[in-house]
């Protein structure tokens, strides 16, 4: 068990990531003069925002020892149905209220996940696989499939969509929504490292039975976790709508595996118990950095899918080798020697 946990984490994985990112950046800078511009940087930030929010949710679930593939469905369900409802009601309560409502919807969907998973102790991947197709199905069959374009979005949303934190004439701009995104990231980091709830998530991911025995209410913690993740996903969904200035029920769903990959690149263990917000941020940035600059690097369209695959493999491969214990692939739970002297 303990061996499996350490399987995916290099000694100082964040360091490794920073290194990789630097290498990629240098490579890109060399291959294209257009790379080193504020515009590229802002574009990177912008395209990282939505994935990062999703990634934070995925991170928490991974730490607790689960895998969630339903967050994109929750995100678009919450965002689309909220926006549609607001428009239908002809009201415009302002973006923050809309976001709040969406997050409420997301929380409820998360609750469904949480209850099924915690109450019946079912494998999370499977449960969320099921709920995901239920959420998407319900959204399209009973709520709506019509593409809502910028023209029909509430003005306040469009306004927010156009609000910039800082502008570089011609060189693009830094979108205002980066502020709430950063805030959320910090909050999650604090939640995970500085609250009993957060530590309980790590504990459950480490050993659920042991968690029960030290008096953690596992069921309650898990349910709350999924509610939280649901709300987070919904925020990501609204963010997507705001940045994209459209609500398209067909969007987002299908990105789940890529996000999970980014989080694991960021050093979270697929077996639970390990992972950090910093690592996750780096993981997401790395993936976006690559995805965003394929054209800039002059990689032909037909090659781009393959390129992404190769880079992903290089990333996780480097990590696996970093986390490698003496005896090759197989997990080795034998304690390293020097520890023994300590006790002796």
């Amino acid at each position: 068990m303990s061996g499996r946990l350490s399987r995916l984490r290099g000694p100082n994985n964040e360091g490794l990531l920073v290194a990789v990112i630097l290498v990629v950046v240098v490579a890109m800078a060399l291959s294209s003069p257009a790379f080193f511009t504020a515009g590229t940087f802002f574009a990177l930030v912008r395209s990282s925002m939505v994935p990062l929010i999703f990634a934070l949710g995925v991170l928490m679930v991974l730490i607790s020892g689960g895998i969630d593939v339903s967050f994109p469905a929750i995100a678009i369900f919450a965002a689309y149905s909220t926006v549609k409802w607001v428009i239908g009601a002809g009201a415009d309560p302002g973006p923050w209220v809309i976001i709040a409502i969406a997050m409420l919807v997301g929380a409820v969907l998360g609750l469904v996940n949480g209850v099924v998973i915690a109450r019946f102790r079912l494998p999370t991947l499977i449960v969320t696989l099921g709920t995901q197709s239920i959420f998407k199905g319900v959204l399209i069959s009973y709520i709506g499939s019509v593409y809502i374009s910028a023209a029909d979005l509430p003005d306040s949303v469009n306004a927010l969509a156009g609000s910039h934190l800082l502008d570089v004439s011609g060189g693009g701009y830094l979108h205002f929504m980066i502020v709430p995104v950063v805030v959320v990231a910090v909050l999650v980091a604090l939640l995970l490292s500085r609250t009993i709830f957060g530590r309980s998530i790590y504990a459950i991911g480490g050993d659920t039975e042991a968690a029960r025995r030290v008096g953690i209410d596992v069921v309650r913690t898990q349910v709350w976790l999924y509610v939280l993740v649901g709300a987070l996903a919904a925020f990501g969904g609204m963010l997507y709508v705001i940045l994209g200035r459209n609500a398209n029920p067909q969007s987002i769903v299908g990105t789940e595996l890529d996000i999970i990959a980014a989080v694991v690149l960021g050093g979270a263990s697929i077996f639970g118990g390990r992972g950090s917000v910093l690592g996750t941020v780096l993981g997401v940035v790395l993936v976006q950095l690559i995805n965003n600059n394929l054209v800039l690097l002059g990689i032909p369209s037909t090659w781009q899918r393959a390129a992404v695959g190769i880079l992903l493999l290089l990333g996780v491969g480097a990590q696996a080798l970093g986390a490698r214990r003496p005896n090759g692939h197989s997990v080795d739970v034998e304690p390293p020697l020097e520890r023994e002297e300590v006790a002796a």
Binding site: F120, I134, G137, R305, A306, G309, V316, G317, A320, S330
Partner: protein, 363 residues
């Protein structure tokens, strides 16, 4: 429309109600009993609702033609899951085989004419299968030698293989397949489509390998506890390598079925299968954590979803309503299982359920 929705709700409630009752009496291998039951229930339900369409021989045959490729891909994922891993690249590997065969065939055809191409067909097919095996071996290498977690390794190779296929075909769908394959798609023996027979054969073979051969047992033990497996002198490298090679092989056969159903190959075919087969494998009773799986359970799960799909079509319900049903079935089954196991802690025996366990008493 609404009355069909009621029908839907109705069937779900009926199924679940009847089911848990009957389950108590069914003492078959975990996954097999419940699926057999669910299959019968759904089939009867739709047969009663739309006898004309649903029992129409054409429909039954079509199910028998559509199911095999998905069944094979599910088996490919199943064996990976048996070792506690997963294989997301099965569809990509299948396409790899299909594209190889199709393009080689057309190439030879253009160069030396149809007859020659047909002559080379057996070799071409062999090469195609080999490609599938090699792709599987590469997965095996990443998992067993490099030590990448399967879900990530195969997520990467899924993109890589798919990307390479795109590069190779330039995104165009290539047409053409050996006539042997083409005719295979249409023909039936004693009313049973050849494709169905192929699926059953592969399944039986796989079942034998898993349960009756040393390597199969090692694969199971590897999934049950990798550390203990290593401490028992079982080499994780060879077991995992074997696992993913088999997975590639099954995918390759699935790729041939793609061609026999329609003589064309593209990089994008079957993208919607990837998560579907995982659902099937789990419905089939495979333990996602590894160590336990039954081939029969997976076959039944494949058929069940096939039946529900056609049934929904017959009831004129939409693809999205089918998606909902699929989710409900998945979670419903898992929950009922759980409830059932909670009641009988000691009855649960992951491992070798599908074969009688000898006891001293017997001797």
């Amino acid at each position: 429309m609404s009355e069909q929705r009621n029908a839907l709700r109705d069937v779900n409630s009926r199924v679940e109600a009847g089911w848990s009752a009957v389950l108590e009496r069914v003492h078959v291998a975990h996954g097999v009993g419940r699926m057999a039951l669910l299959l019968v229930l759904t089939f009867t339900f739709f047969a009663v609702q739309r006898p004309g369409v649903f029992l129409n021989p054409v429909n039954l045959t079509n199910m028998g033609i559509a199911a095999p490729e998905i069944g094979l891909l599910s088996l490919a994922v199943m064996i990976a899951m048996l070792t506690g891993g997963i294989d997301l690249s099965v569809v990509a590997m299948a396409n790899g085989t299909a594209i190889t065969v199709s393009s080689l065939y057309t190439a030879v055809g253009d160069a030396q004419g149809q007859a020659a191409a047909e002559g080379w067909a057996p070799l071409i097919v062999l090469v195609g299968v080999l490609v599938g095996v090699l792709l599987g071996a590469f997965n095996g290498f990443l998992v067993s030698v490099v030590g990448i977690t399967p879900i990530l390794a195969t997520l990467g190779t899924m993109q890589l293989y798919n990307g390479l296929a795109l590069v190779w075909t330039g995104g165009v769908t290539i047409s053409g397949a050996p006539s042997a394959l083409r005719s295979m798609g249409g023909t039936a023996v004693a009313g049973i489509p050849v494709l169905t027979i192929i699926l059953v054969l592969c399944a039986v073979l796989l079942a034998v390998v898993i349960n009756r051969t040393p390597i199969g047992r090692k694969v199971q033990l590897q999934g049950a506890n990798p550390v203990a497996a290593r401490y028992s002198g079982i080499s994780p490298r060879s077991t995992l390598m074997m696992t993913y090679v088999i997975s590639g092989l099954l995918s390759a056969v699935a790729g041939l079925l793609f061609l026999s159903r329609n003589p064309s190959a593209s990089a994008d075919y079957g993208s919607s299968y990837v998560l579907l087969v995982i659902v099937i494998v789990v419905l089939g009773g495979t333990n996602p954590a590894g160590g336990f799986a039954t081939v029969l359970g997976v076959l039944l799960a494949t058929l069940t979803l096939q039946v529900v799909a056609s049934g929904f079509s017959a009831l004129r319900l939409s693809a999205y309503e089918y998606a909902i049903a699929q989710g409900v079935i998945l979670i419903g089954v898992m929950v009922l299982d759980q409830v059932r196991f909670r009641r009988r802690p000691l009855r649960r025996r992951p491992g070798m359920q599908d074969r009688p366990v000898p006891t001293p008493a017997e001797k």
